[in-house]
Amino acid sequence: MTFPGLKTQMSDRNDSDRPGLGMGKGRLEMRAKERTILHVDMDAFYASVEQKERPWLDGEPLVVGGDPEKRRGVVTAASYAAREYGVRAGMPILTARRLCPHAIFLVGDYGGKYEHVSSICMRIFRQFTPRVEPHSIDEAFLDVTGSERLFGPADQLARKLKDKIKTELGLTCSVGIAPNKLLAKLASSLNKPDGLTIIPRDRVEEILKPLKVSRICGIGDKAAKALCGLGIHTLGDLASYPAEVLKGKFGKSGEWLHLVARGIDHSPVRHWTTAEKSIGHGRTLPQDIRKPEQMLSVLLSLSSMVARRLRSRGLAGRTITLRVRYSDFMTLTRSETIGSPTDSEHVILKTAHRLVPGLGTPARKIRLLEVRVSHLTEDPYSLQPGLPLDEYRNRKRELYPVMDRIRDRFGESSIRWAGAAAFV
């Protein structure tokens, strides 16, 4: 399946960040080519994986979510039977219980089960095209522009893909087919579960016009509310709104809104891996904490996890960011950029600790802490060794690879710094 009329829109497509493609003839030909993009969304992924293991739960209202005892009490996925009662992903478990008290609640298995099933899904997708961009654990974009000669038109290809997923995993998925990622994602959401929706190029305007602006991925509640304030409710309203006014009100996002209202999206399917921009770890604490020593203990654990991941990738970073969420859900984020890149948990800890608002005894109880390192560099020579006098620091540096090797062999919980919180 091809979508006529896309050629001119592709002419300013920006894939300058795409490796391996020069500005020669081949690239120009690729730019001019009409694309066929699939968005595959596994239906109620976590809940469906659990239902497959426990067949008697099929068709039952099932809620998979965090452990309320550990206060990771948010719905990760709800079966379609639970969704009929208003249960949605991201909702507190307690709210889900109120909406659907007879639902079955499962904590979920976060030890690799869903990642394993996801990896099989991605492997199946790659049997149809090498151009697969995982969007999350249960979603992916596929550029099948060149696959039609092997598998037939895109709708046939999509049916084959759905059959394969069903046969090999016993799961269903919803597929959207369109000339770009934006429309493919929208298409897959229009007919769920087990749907197959095509948005042909010549029907984009007609399909988009009556839809609410919030149907577009990237327009959240706040943006929808702001648009509503301008009298913009549907994508049709947005398309007819003057571009200059949108730009004036929303800046760069205004330009984007103007494009998406017309179904224009030039972003490529990023099937290559991109360098990580930051590495972080955060935890909702089992109990709210206020004592400085408790906070230090959690920060040491988080810093240690971040530093280990940095070292395992041969990276170091200069900017340390601390995110604190208080018991009243107010969240603060603070950053500090240090002189030279680090992969040391003690440097990260020291900086993160400096960033704690109201250092000493915080005024309010803390519910969540997150430590993140960004401005990453791969250059190992940028790591400045400690001064000769700084023997204590150097001895710690010698310990890091030893601890890393112990964890590589015996697992993450096999060794930790004295004083580091055990629950993280």
Binding site: G111, K113, R409, E412
Partner: protein, 82 residues
């Protein structure tokens, strides 16, 4: 709902088409015959690989087993309780 057990068990395994398939296990003096494997996945703990199996017995009772490759031990991770 699931109930965590996390106890060592004895398991009889067959290998079918290169795959490890648990067929029976003994827990608390009872021998439980596995009727169906409904899920399998792998996870890592350091260098050691852990193979997890979601299984049903003849009464469709759900159990989750795991095999730790490093030590060669089997565990009953959890069972379904009404």
């Amino acid at each position: 709902m699931d109930q965590e057990i996390d106890q060592p068990i004895d398991v009889i395994v067959v290998f079918q088409k290169g795959r490890m398939v648990p067929v029976r296990f003994r827990w608390n003096g009872r021998v439980i015959k596995i009727a169906r494997v409904t899920g399998r996945w792998k996870a890592r703990e350091g260098k050691s690989q852990i193979r997890h199996f979601a299984v049903l017995d003849k009464d469709s009772q759900f159990c989750q087993l795991s095999y730790r490759e490093r030590t060669g031990e089997w565990f009953l991770d959890k069972i379904w309780m009404e």
